[in-house]
């Protein structure tokens, strides 16, 4: 059959195009516009080319924030993904336990992010916080507002508490989707519990785990509200992650140009990492070469 073209069909995608334009493309272009100008006030601006990019890329505070951010996201992924999978494996497959565990897991996900920061400030306080007092009671000095390491422990713990349930829920959905015949075949083949996990459950969960890794990477890389409430980026700059630094730059110092340049670089970093993760995870264990994915 011969293909038939009617250019009026483009009108059908126009509504979506407009929505994307308003929600994403126009704001992004505004940022691009800011990033190449020096803005003194309304109506007073000078074109400066790539000046801000040069400045931002050479900013050692930004380098430090980026390194902290990478360590933070790396830690978060290393803890949350295996922990989430372990929780999913331990969850009951049927019966009343299913709803109970699903509700318990969903709770942290329902709490507003800045409230979570507040909860953990109080929870970890060395004088009245449940966990803070407990840790100090064990003879380990713990004071997250003043000790950088303690602040890190608190932020990572909070992040793990907040988002591991999401990984667990995704992994659980993946596990439940595996047909029974696989487990029956594994029993007939005499597979151990580990072999069943390694050769059936893990490969079958790959799809949802790719999504989990991407979501957790992006969200943890962009984290703002919780550490802002919890530590405000301190003590010193020890928990100043990229977005906290960005807001300081844009709102605190009102350096709109550098902040815009920073935003674009930030965006590109997230995009690049997500792409690399996606490509790598899609191919793990399939033996596919680039370009022949099915």
């Amino acid at each position: 059959m011969e293909k038939w073209h009617d250019n009026r069909a483009w009108f059908l995608v126009l509504p979506v195009f407009l929505m994307v334009a308003i929600s994403a493309i126009i704001p992004l272009m505004t940022v691009v516009n800011y990033s190449v100008q020096d803005i003194f006030g309304p109506g007073q601006r000078v074109f400066v080319g790539i000046e801000w990019f040069r400045e931002v890329l050479g900013d050692s505070r930004l380098h430090d924030a980026l390194i902290r951010q990478l360590i933070f996201s790396g830690l978060v992924l290393l803890i949350e993904i295996p922990l989430g999978v372990a929780i999913a494996l331990a969850m009951p497959a049927r019966g009343w336990g299913v709803s109970v565990s699903l509700v318990l897991l969903a709770l942290p996900l329902l709490i507003p992010w800045n409230v979570i920061g507040t909860i953990w400030i109080i929870f970890m306080r060395p004088d009245i916080g449940l966990l803070g007092v407990l840790i100090n009671g064990l003879g380990i000095p713990f004071d997250h507002p003043t000790a950088p390491l303690d602040a890190w422990v608190t932020v990572v713990l909070m992040e793990v508490w907040h988002w591991t349930p999401l990984v667990a829920l995704l992994a659980y959905a993946g596990l439940r989707a595996i047909p029974d015949a696989y487990f029956q075949a594994a029993r007939i083949d005499g597979a151990s519990a580990w072999a069943t996990f390694r050769y059936i459950q893990l490969p079958k969960m790959r799809g949802v785990l790719v999504i989990a890794v991407l979501l957790r990477f992006m969200d943890s890389f962009l984290i703002y509200a919780e550490p802002f409430v919890l530590t405000g980026g301190g003590p010193g700059n020890s928990t100043t992650f990229l977005s906290i630094y960005l807001v300081k730059l844009a709102v605190g110092q009102f350096d709109l140009g550098p902040a815009a340049a920073f935003s674009i670089i930030y965006f590109l970093i997230v995009l690049l990492f997500s792409f690399v993760f996606y490509q790598a995870l899609q191919r793990i264990g399939t033996g596919d070469k680039p370009g022949d994915r099915r």
């Binding site: 015949a181 007939i188 151990s192 050769y199």
Partner: protein
């Protein structure tokens, strides 16, 4: 390899079964002989898969015992029973190569790598998978995947039996035939006890020496394809086996004949001898192949009207009406069919009598 004895087995998926209907398997006692090729035939939901899973140990029966030869295996795990089972949908380990898939059951049982290699190559040769051994199993076609599932059962040389649960469902028709022949070949070569679940009677009749028919959790009849065709023990077997199925009509007995719609249909001596004093709902049954249709009245012919004639190439199916009952007659292609009215003759040796669905004689 073993003789499998299901001793008074019954199974219910409910914790506290009350009524008979709560049982997926009604109480049964059946022996599967060592080296036999059995087809387990029945409509969907009749308990075939449950029965298979009871044998392989994936399900613990609610009642009764399972014996392999003289050993009671009721409480043994699937792994300890050493059974091979192939499922409806091919199960392969996606991340492994074909070789590793086939080697998996042996490696799990701690075989050394040399005997694994030898055994896998032998089975791959039999199943014509040698060329694919180093490929990933994931990208293969459905029939190759199903061969791998089968291969994983066959690599263990000491399996007690190999169970198939409708293994050809997802296979293309032209490959079905090839795989079926392969299965038969393997059975003859390895002399394994083979139980093959299907709802396709052609598959059952071509593959098995013995066909076991199930319906609503009960074993209705086990026998050779010929037994099932000529002497169905139950009306369900009669119309489930054969195409079209057996004709059944409610009847009463009078003297040496069955009375159907006011017409006398004489019965054989052997049947009459067993029928004396029998009660319950009586029916007579006859295969469409055995009915004789003619235009003129012959000795003991019953007048019928011709309702429809279907020409199916090398034979014809004629639907006739006797009062309110309809009877199908299977005729050779070249035989003339009377136009409106005809006479049906019921050969005595093929006319069966049933009481409450069970064969009388």
């Amino acid at each position: 390899m073993a003789r499998i004895h299901l001793k008074n087995i019954a199974h219910s998926y409910e914790d506290k079964p009350r009524a008979e209907a709560d049982f997926a398997l009604r109480e049964m006692d059946h022996v599967w002989q060592d080296g036999g090729a059995y087809a387990l035939l029945g409509p969907s939901g009749c308990g075939k898969t449950t029965l298979l899973n009871v044998i392989s140990g994936l399900i613990q029966p609610s009642r009764g015992q399972v014996f392999f030869d003289d050993q009671d295996v009721t409480n043994l795990s699937t792994q300890q029973r050493n059974i091979a089972q192939v499922f409806q949908f091919p199960v392969i380990y996606d991340t492994m190569t074909v070789f590793d898939n086939l080697a998996f059951p042996l490696r799990n049982r701690g075989f050394d790598s040399e005997s694994v290699r030898q055994r896998v190559h032998e089975i791959a040769e039999t199943l014509e998978l040698t060329a694919d051994l180093n490929r990933r199993a994931l990208g293969l076609s459905a029939d190759a995947k199903q061969k791998i599932s089968l291969g994983r059962g066959l690599v263990r040389s000491d399996v007690a039996a190999i169970l198939f649960d409708e293994p050809l469902t997802v296979i293309d028709p032209h490959l079905k035939w090839q795989l079926r022949r392969k299965l038969k070949e393997i059975h003859e070569r390895f002399k394994l006890t083979l139980i093959y679940v299907t709802h396709d009677q052609n598959e059952a009749l071509t593959l098995a020496d013995q066909v076991v028919v199930m319906h609503e959790g009960q074993l209705l009849q086990a026998g050779t394809p010929q037994d099932l065709f000529e002497t169905p023990q139950h009306t369900f077997v009669g119309y489930f086996i054969g195409s079209p199925g057996m004709n059944f009509m409610p009847c009463a007995l009078e003297g040496d004949a069955a009375i159907v719609e006011g017409q006398r249909i004489p019965l054989g001596q052997a049947t009459l001898a067993k029928a004396s004093g029998i009660g319950g709902a009586l029916e007579i049954g006859i295969r469409p192949q055995f009915l004789r249709l003619s235009a003129q009245r012959e000795e003991s012919g019953v007048p019928v009207t011709i309702a429809a004639v279907e020409d199916l190439g090398n034979y014809k199916i004629v639907t006739t009406r006797l009062g309110e009952r309809s009877l199908k007659v299977k005729l050779p292609e070249d035989e003339a069919v009377p136009s409106e009215h005809g006479y049906l003759r019921f050969p005595r040796e093929w006319t069966r009598l049933y009481a409450d669905s069970q064969l009388v004689g």
